[in-house]
Symmetry: D2
Amino acid sequence: MRTGMWLVGARGSVAVTSLVGALAVRDGLAEPTGCVTELPALRSPAVPTFADLVFGGHDISVLRLVKKAEALAAGGVLPLPLVELVAGELAEMETQVLTVPTGPTQHDVADRVAADLTAFRDAHRLDELVVVNVSSTEALATPHPAHADLTALRAALQRPDPVLPNSSLFAYAAFTAGCGYVEFTPSTGPRLPALAELAEQAGAVYAGCDGKTGQTLLKSVLAPMFAMRHLQVQSWSGINLLGGGDGANLVEPGANAAKVASKQRVLAEILGYQPEGHNRIDYVADIGDLKTAWDLVTFSGFLGTRMRMEFSWHGCDSALAAPLVLDLVRLTAAAHAAGGRGPVPELGFFFKDPLGSGSHALADQWEQLRRLVAGWGDADAGVA
Amino acid sequence: MRTGMWLVGARGSVAVTSLVGALAVRDGLAEPTGCVTELPALRSPAVPTFADLVFGGHDISVLRLVKKAEALAAGGVLPLPLVELVAGELAEMETQVLTVPTGPTQHDVADRVAADLTAFRDAHRLDELVVVNVSSTEALATPHPAHADLTALRAALQRPDPVLPNSSLFAYAAFTAGCGYVEFTPSTGPRLPALAELAEQAGAVYAGCDGKTGQTLLKSVLAPMFAMRHLQVQSWSGINLLGGGDGANLVEPGANAAKVASKQRVLAEILGYQPEGHNRIDYVADIGDLKTAWDLVTFSGFLGTRMRMEFSWHGCDSALAAPLVLDLVRLTAAAHAAGGRGPVPELGFFFKDPLGSGSHALADQWEQLRRLVAGWGDADAGVA
Amino acid sequence: MRTGMWLVGARGSVAVTSLVGALAVRDGLAEPTGCVTELPALRSPAVPTFADLVFGGHDISVLRLVKKAEALAAGGVLPLPLVELVAGELAEMETQVLTVPTGPTQHDVADRVAADLTAFRDAHRLDELVVVNVSSTEALATPHPAHADLTALRAALQRPDPVLPNSSLFAYAAFTAGCGYVEFTPSTGPRLPALAELAEQAGAVYAGCDGKTGQTLLKSVLAPMFAMRHLQVQSWSGINLLGGGDGANLVEPGANAAKVASKQRVLAEILGYQPEGHNRIDYVADIGDLKTAWDLVTFSGFLGTRMRMEFSWHGCDSALAAPLVLDLVRLTAAAHAAGGRGPVPELGFFFKDPLGSGSHALADQWEQLRRLVAGWGDADAGVA
Amino acid sequence: MRTGMWLVGARGSVAVTSLVGALAVRDGLAEPTGCVTELPALRSPAVPTFADLVFGGHDISVLRLVKKAEALAAGGVLPLPLVELVAGELAEMETQVLTVPTGPTQHDVADRVAADLTAFRDAHRLDELVVVNVSSTEALATPHPAHADLTALRAALQRPDPVLPNSSLFAYAAFTAGCGYVEFTPSTGPRLPALAELAEQAGAVYAGCDGKTGQTLLKSVLAPMFAMRHLQVQSWSGINLLGGGDGANLVEPGANAAKVASKQRVLAEILGYQPEGHNRIDYVADIGDLKTAWDLVTFSGFLGTRMRMEFSWHGCDSALAAPLVLDLVRLTAAAHAAGGRGPVPELGFFFKDPLGSGSHALADQWEQLRRLVAGWGDADAGVA
């Protein structure tokens, strides 16, 4: 099943890490560590292989892919020898990363994006095409009445004032072109009633939002532990120190607010109550891509005894995100091929703020995902 | 269902915390925080209530229960006002904590222990009686051929040389008297083929071993997280600093070895491979009952990127263990009343080194436990 | 040498911890742990003893001292038995804690404060009287031209609009009455040219600002370590989580800003350059008085090798501050008695933001303090 | 002043990091970060420059220097481009690293070592020659009566049974040849009365033992902080996780014991009492050269309030040690040139277990070092 992976933000850290990794794994130069679809419990002939993938994308940046890969190698995210081995193929991909179209109205922009997608699908005779947003986090979007209704939205897009945030405009274009869409950032993307309506009409699938790679991943296993042991979480506070492109962007207060809000929901969802505490994000250029998060949890146990835990997480966001991006494209394509329409809540395993109903606890999300894949036939059982 | 809870080590920290807590919760003086059988998802009319419980036990110590409770209050484990409220009842319980019987052979000792249990059951007209070992951790037991076979064991017990470690002798006596047995420590307890045979014959149920309250509890949610995300754990090293009675006992190298071994199994079981690293235990009197554990996990992700997490856990072992002891007695009694025989693997949720087959991952263990209780009828669904 | 200790904020946590502790140490009920003037290297007959101290103060709160002490005991700051032992004396002190005077102009208020101080000094036939501000942190003060000049200030105080922040008004009153003044909070206090002029005229001594009790204390030994080893600190980021009265007050953004600014200066002063990074303060009610601070330091060494350290500090601010407050009153009184006038820079050892020139490195500050005391005669040598 | 630096263990991690770094700094390819003699406060014309240094050494390994440097680059200790720039010079140095001489008696071995040193000094017309031991840590040495007396030692060395550990044999040879000696490991080295006597006779200088680069460096600033604030340290416990060559060697229990003992002395020396607690060392191959140390300190303050701090240190031992090795050679040569004889206690700043009397507190050690260098003339003042 030839599957296109269209990256919005194709010249960014996550995208280039995904590209280099996909080439390396396909060619047997690296293990698929971090790719959950390669676990025995989730392997399925219904899921496209690495050899099935074809890459393209949009970006406002013009930094060459090889240059970005070399910068990631200098920052410790990618091994330099691997970058050298795939440099030739990266160079060939350059022509498949287009600049972001512009136009007098958002309708025009969407049309041109859809045309880019259709041309890519035709040129490569793809069975499936999935758009995945890995560009910078947007500020929280301004609500607009046209978000609630597809007809109103179509009318509003024809007018000169922008009505959709960029992420949602890409989702609109993807659905219009019959493509799948994955919102990997905290941006709005497909989370608007009008877009849900469009996806339904177009028979498109989508998943999101906001890849779960660090503190929230830990919360999604630690909070259930407290709940299952009937321990009362009193407060959960934390700070994220990160450099790199994503960090710089989060200095912008709107983007920071979007990110922080999406991190706080998980606790209330899992525990059934909201403990005290905040989650801060600070940009520290020196830290680069290997971000450090620290959390303090205070809790009470039997007869009110006060206890604490704290943890530090030194994780490389791009390295944690990239294999999930590859998983999501492959699983979204398979879900569509299996007849899926609209949101795929079983992909909540991958997200901080999962679309559709469903648990935020990682083990429950894993079980949902396992069943989804098993429903396509032939997957093995068990994690290991 | 009147249920006896017989504590081996009844004057120790865990036992007295359980006693004070059970009285306080029964009388509405405290919430049942930390008692998992009080979660909506695990509530069942088949489980005895706090009001159903009757307490007795054995101990080599003669420290009065109230004195021990006051010492625990001074160490911050129990609230002093609560101890004062239940002091009268603790004083009445004094006569129900017997000294450990002695005799010329282990057979004689077992006989006298069984007689104590039977007398207690008769005096209180108990429907169920469960023995739970919360005494100090023993050194790793010396293997003996008679451990493999009940007939050989019975013969060997008649001879003057001891053949069973104390914990196993108590399990032997409990099964002989038709009681349930819970091994809450890392000691051998019922984990011998001869005792499994006896339990089967006697129609007794049992569960164990080694209550999962701190570092291993965290491992049982964090290791599955790494496994589910296909991240490769390279090393997992840690240290436990603890004062209090349990800590002092662990200075004894044999007991330390027993404890450390039981902590290391969980990773290999969950991950499918054994990462590098050791787990140290050190006694630091000043730390008292609020032990501190620190773990460092190094792992690699996509394309070999090296990452780390570390955590500190400041937990009060007695406060974490006591509600689980109460849960285990109540659940073991219910399992027996429901017709159970032999080990109850669905209670693996509570243990570092669960008896019988079954996952070490907490979420899987929770699901097994939930189904066990649901099988008894009427439990609600969902954690919260 | 009978010495008065006049507490602005006398009913707050730091003040009441100081009072209870001073009584307990005086009566031999507790060791003077945390009091640096009791170290052999700093003992001097020139310093008033605990028996020499007489207490009074102002506060806007009317919470009784005993009630506050009991609340501190409940929060783990004070031992309850000690509070009970000194409860009688605390009750007798009630009449010596006055409400804060009011009046149509700040001049009137200062007059009444000075009158309260003079009356207290006369009533107790005090040789020295030191006012110490341990009230809540103020917002950063609004600059005013009259701050620069005593004559202008005196004129401005007669007008109805307030010109001085409260802390500075108390310093004004103290100097007017010939008393010493210690600014233990980050508030402005005596840090205005007009007040320096007044202290000089009045022959008063003063010290400040902002007691160094936690993260900054650690910075003042760790930053010199990096400097002395010629290691390059790249970033120093941190967060403070605190409950209690001080924490609640810091939710107020102005006070938070004042506190954070005073914490950031120390690094640049010691290292000679300002590393990247911020220091956050968050209020978490559940944490109470035992605050938790976490810092991450990234640094580079030989040939650019990147390294990190992180630390967590779980300190009780009131318990750390109270003995320093007692030290400061005793040392300020001695400095005045020894003929001092104006700021006492040798007391920089106690402060985040020391008045007068001088190093921020703790070891240098210690040496300055040791020489000050040695200059008064008879102190022993050596820390231990 | 042409100065020879003779490395015992010249093909190990610390030695090769020193070599690469010395070449790079000399040629202006890198900053002298981590070299304390390059701080303004310690600069002196009496200290040989990087251009003055000439390198040689002994090793039992035959791994080529360039290969070792490349391995260090792969492990993140050295920047690969730098290794490539100095590879030619490293290759030229190969002939100056000799195999360790052997012989029928230790006397013969010492003679041949001394002959190697003399030949090197003559060949390069050196003004000063300093031997520095950076080889693997030895097991704790077996005491021998001949250690106490030079005449007895000389006799014993002629007999076939070894009497000196290797480190001491090298010190013996160095002194015999009139060279200085620096013991950078915890091994015995010059710490024997017979060797002190020999150094005195030969007019040789020496310094040691055990470079202070991680946990102990932190102890030497944190313990004084607790002492200066009159806080009572109750316990100080820690663990060191390290891979790399030094880590593997420490699996050997004798070497581990030597290392741990030297780490524990510093607290008692600074605090005046020995707090509870142990320091563990574990080998974790995966951690490589970037070792992780974790410490927990429990302390009590005013009125017995219990507080804690914990810290993690992620430091690269070779990168921390190498600039100190260069400093020590330069300072030891200068001390000898300035007429020094015997131990140089002012170099205690560099060591966990300083030779000669003197404080273990870093700030005091810094001041001693500063005065030593100032005594040679022309150093600037101030750290920054």
